[in-house]
Structures are given as structure tokens and as C-alpha cells.
Symmetry: C2
Subunit: 208 residues, 2 copies
DNA sequence: TACACTGCTGACCAATCAGTCAGTAAGAGA
DNA sequence: TCTCTTACTGACTGATTGGTCAGCAGTGTA
């Protein structure tokens, strides 16, 4: 009459465990997250967790992959879309992406990368290859496309796409650190984008 | 004939220990830094360290204070100096400060704040009160001063001094994370400052 | 030189936690 | 319904490390 103590759900366990691990890492950071707590949140024993993930570090990597990869691919695919002009693209999808980032799981991943990156060089490499470098490259392409079709002026900004996303990084960090301080990151990003577009649209000196 | 096993140097110990702790925290982060290692680097036993600092956390706070406070005061005092125009000030001291930051001990502190901040709320508060809010306020003052004397146009940028320093934060983080990837942060910051000044100097629309 | 004060040492303790494994029971297959 | 595979449990272990403290030895004083 007692219900079974557990159910066998081989298929679902890994995803449930990485989800629980994401929550736990988000709250505690890697070093302070207890494997036991991850297991408890996943409704599973510690032993089972170790059946699916060989070590805590393996688990960590699985979390990063599960959160980051689906998102990145979605965004980068949009850059391929040439139906929008670069200006419209920046005011549209880029702005939208930037505004939702500070509250998204990716922000948590960024924090974890900062926090734990130095101890997991292969993870940083993975992140660089799959996220950071691809994102910067996409922005650079976008800027160059605008310059090529005369929509943007020649500018060194095209060499530093970092400047486009710097305010988002700033906003993410600001929120992580000074949670009690409010920051209207949407307005911040709007202001930033207007400054950027103004710069990109300006005539070079000496032109009419 | 054997030299004394140690010397009594009550006065110097605290500074030597915080210096050793800074190095250790910089390399390992807080959680992974061993108190024993700090003591060894300071040429001191673990017991002595605990004589001067009650806990590892106290030590951590002392490190932050010792690195951050002297630097902040120096910089902020310059903003009081009204002999330079806001434009010259941004092109001069502000730019210089921004360019040297990524390689300075303050960058390490920023990393530590990010890494450990959530577990030391009182430290974050200290940092906010003494560093971040004062720095942002100084920038805001500078921008408003330029607007007031007609050197800068009216702009929402004055509400978001964060945008001025965002690229530095970006550069610091980029270096911390992707050490192998080179980033010409001086050029990045130069580009950023030119974009900013261009924006600040531009006539509002509708003006001659 | 003797003495006392205290800066300093390092062996030790207690707590924490990643990872293990012997055993249990769900539930598929016959 | 019985059997056998294996998903699953949770008590346990070994290693690590923050923090303690009894005593040792420099150093100033008389």
C-alpha cells in the first residue's frame, strides 16, 4: 500500500539533474554548491547523480552546454538573415537580445564563467569557441555589411564589436553585484544604441 | 650560531600578510586560496596570521580595503579640479585611468568582488559606498558640468555614466576570462572615447 | 645574567564534502 | 507470477582545510 519509493526514469534524469544543478550553481556558485543539494533538488540520491555524471566538474560542463548552446544558435541564425538592413537589425533583434540578457539564464552562465573560469580552462575555451568569438564575429560582419552598402560610415568601431555589447556586460555585472541598486538597463541600452547609430550614421568629416 | 628561527616584527606583519593574501586571492580566488599558503607566502605561520586576522573573511576584507581605498581617493580628488575643461578631462585623466585599469590590482579586486560578492554582502556594500557610487557620481558631475557650460549637448548619457566606463569593465572581464585572446584595450578605449566625445559635442538636431 | 612579556610556531582538532559501493527494489520480460 | 536486470539508495570514507592552543623562543628590562 505504500507508494513505491522511487520510479525508474532513466530518460529524464540527466535533464532534471542539470536543471537542478543550474539552479543550485546560480544561487551558490560552483564551489559552494553541494552535490548533495543538487541531488535533493532533482529528487534523486547523490549516488544516482554520480551514475549520470562522473564528477562535479562534468556536471558543471553539462549545465553550461545545456543552457548556452540552444540560445546562441538561435541568435546567430538571425544574423544570417539579410532581409533587414543593418540599422534595423541593430534597433530590432540586437537591441531585444541585449535587453533581455541581464535577466536571462545566460547572465547566470556569464557569472559562473567569471567565477569559475580560471579553474576550468577547457570550459573557457569551449565558451570562447561557441559563444564569445562567434557572437563578436557576427557583430563585426553586421557592421562591415553596413559600411559596405554605404549605410554606415567607415569607423574603427568595426574592429571593436566589443563596444557594442559592453553596456550589456556592464548591466549584467551591475545587477549581479549591486542587486539592491536599481539600474534601468533597458533605458541604458536604448541610450547606448542611439549613440552608436548616431555615430555610425554620421558623415565623415569633410563630407557635405 | 644558528640564526634565529624568526624575528618579532609586530608592526610589519599585517601589511605583509595582506600583500601575500592579495597575491594568493588573485591567483586562486577566495574559496580556493589556502590560509596556510597565505601564511607561507608572508613568511609566517598560520597561527600568527590568525593572531592578526580573526577569520579568513576578515583577512579578505582587509585586502579589499588596502588595495582599493588608496586608489579611489587619488582619482576622485582629480575630479574636483576644475582647471581642465570636461572635454580635456575626459581625454586626459579619465582616459588614462581607464587604460591602466585592466592591468592594475583594481582589476583583480573587481574579479574578486564578482566572484565572492554574493557571499559577502557587507563587502559589496562597502565597495558600492566607497568606490562604485562615488565613481559614477563623479562622472555624472563631470558630464553635467559640461552640459551646463555649453560644452556638451543635452543628452541622456548624463543619466547613465555607466556607459562611460562600460568598455573598461568589458576589457577587464575579457582579459580575466580569455587570457589567451589578445585585445588591444588601449585602442578599444580610444575608439570609445572618441565616439563619446563626438556624441557629446554634436549639435542637437534642428540647430545650425 | 636572570627574568618576564609576548610574538610566534606547528601539531592538532572538528567540520565539511566529493566520491564510493554494497545492497535494495522497480519493473520488464518470460 | 516468478525471475533477473539494473536504476536507484544512502551510509560511509578519505582527504581537505579553517581555526585552536599549549608551549617555545625572541627581545626588552633591571
Amino acid at each position: 500500500m505504500t507508494p513505491p519509493r522511487y520510479q525508474r526514469r532513466k530518460e529524464d534524469r540527466p535533464a532534471e539533474i542539470t536543471a537542478a544543478a543550474f539552479e543550485t550553481f546560480a544561487e551558490k556558485g560552483y564551489a559552494n554548491a553541494r552535490v548533495e543539494e543538487v541531488a535533493r533538488r532533482a529528487g534523486v540520491s547523490k549516488g544516482l547523480l554520480y551514475l549520470y555524471f562522473k564528477t562535479k566538474e562534468e556536471l558543471f560542463k553539462a549545465v553550461i552546454r545545456s543552457v548556452v548552446l540552444p540560445r546562441v544558435d538561435g541568435l546567430l541564425r538571425q544574423v544570417e538573415d539579410r532581409s533587414k538592413s543593418p540599422t534595423a537589425f541593430i534597433r530590432g533583434p540586437v537591441r531585444e537580445f541585449m535587453q533581455q540578457l541581464p535577466g536571462s539564464p545566460v547572465a547566470v552562465i556569464i557569472k559562473l564563467m567569471l567565477t569559475e573560469g580560471s579553474r576550468h580552462p577547457d570550459l573557457v575555451e569551449f565558451y570562447w569557441d561557441n559563444v564569445a568569438s562567434r557572437g563578436l564575429e557576427a557583430l563585426r560582419t553586421l557592421l562591415k555589411r553596413g559600411i559596405a552598402n554605404g549605410e554606415f560610415r567607415e569607423t574603427r568601431l568595426a574592429e571593436f564589436p566589443h563596444l557594442v555589447i559592453a553596456p550589456v556586460v556592464m548591466a549584467v555585472i551591475f545587477r549581479l553585484l549591486f542587486q539592491q541598486q536599481t539600474l534601468d538597463s533597458d533605458a541604458l541600452i536604448d541610450t547606448h544604441i542611439e549613440i552608436l547609430l548616431e555615430h555610425l550614421a554620421a558623415e565623415p568629416e569633410g563630407s557635405p
